[in-house]
């Protein structure tokens, strides 16, 4: 009886630990996508649709500062949600504040750019993930809005820190390159 109780307790601990790791750490990507959907009343296209459209989620090479072709995201680590031909009409300052507020406890903001002329918003956040690093990039423009989360090696995080805008753009492009 005592052994059974111990086993149940251990099972409970494992379930809680797994749930925490899934929903506590890695679910920020989904919550950011949901936040965009709710705030702007838009809908994203999921990865399966984009995969059918011939999208290469990983493995694309991107050009970064210095002119070298490098692979930035770790293989298999990229999450992408794409908002295409959607209107992001709303107070962008309020959106920025909400986004920052939602992520502030775990993610570190790096660079945030707003262009009212081009109607674009760009946000880059970083957090540690074991001996690697996660980057979350949100780019909203009138034509398209990719949200990208990827894992970076320390070498590529160094590139991102040196040139946040250039490397952030390269990571985003790398994650959303189409075959056509």
């Amino acid at each position: 009886m005592k052994h059974k109780a111990t086993r149940v307790f251990l099972l409970f601990v494992i379930v809680v630990a797994v749930a925490t790791s899934v929903f506590g750490k890695d679910d920020d990507f989904n919550s950011v996508v949901k936040l965009i959907e709710q705030y702007y009343n838009v809908k994203h296209q999921g990865i399966p649709f984009l995969a059918r459209a011939g999208m290469k989620v990983v493995g694309a090479a991107a050009k970064v500062k210095g002119g070298q072709m490098k692979r930035l995201a770790e293989l298999g680590s990229v999450k992408v949600a794409m908002f295409e031909n959607q209107e992001f009409a709303g107070d962008f300052l309020k959106f920025r504040a909400t986004l920052n507020n939602n992520l502030k406890d775990i993610w570190m903001p790096l660079v945030q750019t707003i262009s009212t002329e081009e109607d674009e918003q760009s946000y880059i956040f970083v957090k540690e993930k074991g001996d690697k690093f996660n980057v979350l990039i949100v780019n909203l423009s009138p034509r398209e809005g990719p949200v990208v989360q990827a894992t970076l090696s320390s070498k590529n995080l160094a590139l991102l820190l040196k040139d946040p805008e250039g490397t952030g753009r390269a990571i985003s492009e790398e994650a959303t390159i189409f075959d056509n």
């Binding site: 790096l110 660079v111 040196k162």
Partner: protein
Amino acid sequence: MKSLIRTFMKRHTLAALVLLVSVTAATAQDPRIQMAHLDHLAAKANETVDVSVDERLIKLAAKVFNDKDVDEAAIKKLVMGLKGIYVKSFEFDADNIFSNADVDTIRTQLKAPSWSRLVNVTSKREGTVEVYVSLVGEDINGLTVLSIEPRELTVVNIVGPVDLEKLAQLEGNLGIPELGIRGNKKKNDDEK
């Protein structure tokens, strides 16, 4: 009884004053400046850039910059000991969109005795460039650059031991814009 109350009040007033003075002193020495007052300009600006490299990110930077890479080793050396790098920059499509009152929300935080404005500073930028350093004794513990052009307003606030030479080396890295700031030390020496 009255004298007991008076003594009690005196002691507590004194304690409150000591606390107030220490809090004020601590606040006055904090070289992190508040830039949120400028956020409303984002709605009027063509482009707004907001860089926030806090102490956690600086520690990460120190960890990931490779000592064998000359550039990275140099940046690593520069950022060691820094506690934050904060940049806000606004570009407008017409002159005078922002007011003196907007700029004064920053200038009022850069007052003596905590802050001193550096003279003999030049920049490749047009308009006015003001550089302020925060001093604790003889040591710099913060630096703020205010670059004011008719169509552009940039504030750079670096928290930690930094000087003009370090700033010049950090320009173009970690989101710090190219300000082309140089101290005219030679000119000063010539004048002596």
